[in-house]
Symmetry: C2
Subunit: 315 residues, 2 copies
């Protein structure tokens, strides 16, 4: 699953929760990259309901194609992004270790988040029940929104294609929605998972919504099918993906996400309260979406329903 949850044999009642995550830059603003990266790193731990960290270690490798000055400026800004996000989200006292990897052809950004927990802090991702409702706490399509913005900045051929259906403002607006979503920590979602006794969750990243849903289904004690009826997608991204001939993954629920939301299985009497609370606690800045439900099944799996609905999300 998303992160290691390891009972400490030498220290009864304690568990070690740890995740490590790396990726390559997908946005040309290093400070913003840092904020997306930290949201992505911590997300695996939030997915098991843990919101206190004993150590956060960030790891950055400069690129061999950077000049010395570029290295210094870019890496400092990435690190500032990490720190700004931790600060803004109540983690100013969390011990932070900064480590620079040896130089590498490609710039790499990542980190390690560690928490030593009592078992009550952890929501093991294995208790989905038939009848549960599936909630997703961020819209899909963040990476494509980022790509479109890079094409715009580079004024390349793909940008010219985009202009046939979108204005510059459209592309910027799409990008801004993605930024707001991808920099948002899944912390409040994790806290509400406890409040509403969520049955399991996973965070959505590289395998896409369906890939992670399938992993999560495999991990359940009961054999269950996760049926997904709706795909909430960042405004313009669906149309944009059709225009660019890159809609297959998105439409099949497999678009690669960075710092995606949590997919949470909640009992039907808790789900509306969860969604309302989530919007409230984020002052209406973020939304969660009821995207499907859990049914008993002879085989654990996750599928898109045949008449899956695409929902456009503005935030």
């Amino acid at each position: 699953m998303d992160c290691a949850v390891i009972p400490l044999n030498r220290h009864k009642d304690y568990l070690l929760v740890q995740t490590v995550d790396f990726f390559y830059p997908m946005v040309n603003d290093p400070e913003l990259l840092g904020r997306i990266a930290i949201a992505n790193v911590l997300s695996d731990v939030f997915a098991v309901g843990v919101t206190d960290f004993d150590s956060v270690e960030i790891i950055v490798s400069t690129s061999t194609s950077f000049t010395k000055k570029e290295q210094d400026v870019v890496i400092s800004l990435i690190i500032a992004g990490f720190q700004n996000s931790l600060q803004a989200n109540g983690y100013h006292k969390t011990p932070l270790v900064i480590r620079q990897l040896k130089i590498n052809p490609w710039c790499i950004v990542g980190g390690i988040a560690t928490s030593v927990c009592r078992s009550g802090e952890i929501i093991l991702p294995s208790n989905a029940q038939p009848g549960d409702v599936l909630v997703l706490t961020k819209p899909l399509g963040g990476q494509m929104a980022m790509d479109a913005h890079l094409w715009q900045l580079n004024q390349n051929e793909k940008y010219t294609t985009l202009l046939s259906e979108f204005s510059d403002d459209d592309i910027r607006e799409t990008f801004q929605i993605a930024v707001k979503s991808m920099t948002y920590l899944n912390k409040n979602a994790a806290l509400l998972m406890h409040k509403y006794q969520a049955h399991c969750a996973t965070d959505i990243t590289g395998f896409g919504l369906l890939g992670h849903a399938q992993n999560l289904a495999q991990f359940q004690k009961q054999k269950v099918l996760f049926k997904i009826d709706q795909l909430p997608i960042i405004k313009n991204v669906h149309k944009l993906s059709l225009l660019m001939g890159q809609s297959t993954k998105l439409r099949s629920g497999r678009s690669v996400e960075t710092s995606g939301g949590l997919l949470i299985s909640l009992s039907p009497d808790a789900v509306d309260k969860f969604c309302r609370d989530f919007e409230e606690v984020t002052n209406g800045e973020q939304k969660s979406f009821k995207i499907g439900h859990v049914v008993a099944s002879s085989e654990s799996d996750a599928v898109l329903s045949d008449e899956v609905e695409f929902i456009e999300v503005s935030l």
Copy 2:
């Protein structure tokens, strides 16, 4: 210092000890690379006297220049090397997480070692005393021994130069000594640090002996000077470095090491027993070396003595 030692605010009496380490391949045998990598990763934790791990996570990235088949074979062998070493060193019950990074132009190998400890398990690296003797538990020059072996395999120009003073058997013997040393875990050294109440230690890697000694000196409660009189060097490596015009770093105590030994500050009445025990516990397969001493000083630092002696080590 070498690894993070973080008191757990939420769980009194416990500390989190964690290290992360990465490097690029320096040997063409992937299983061997795995064994060197794990020795290198764990070494930072051994340097603070900790020998029990709650989690070891290994991280490997394939190279974009590998074919799919090369990826599968090479990465499996690297992972086997990690596992073989853990198995052979009493860590078969340690939870091991294997994580493959996204593909990268260069192959990257590394890992994370985590231990949740009581304070008694940790020897904080800050109590060196004037009069202490400095012990090094592995000879220097491992990377150059590896380089020479690669030149030999590639039959390149540097190899031709080597042949003017060394036989093929010499180069292979030098390589074998380096392999034996670099794959050896610093675990026994860490255990003996407790037995002989070592005052502080560090492990020798990328900054070289002198660089790490200087870092360690800066970390002491008392102002002390670490004076180094002897440099134990793997057989043939000193002569080889002179022949190749690459002796400056080695002779100044700054040769880059991978999976080097521990540099330990011991009281003068404990040091001989430590060295004898170390040789015994390794069945004579490894040696430790008294390479210098600690004196009071107005400024914390580490220096090579003017008449530093180079000692050839065969193991």
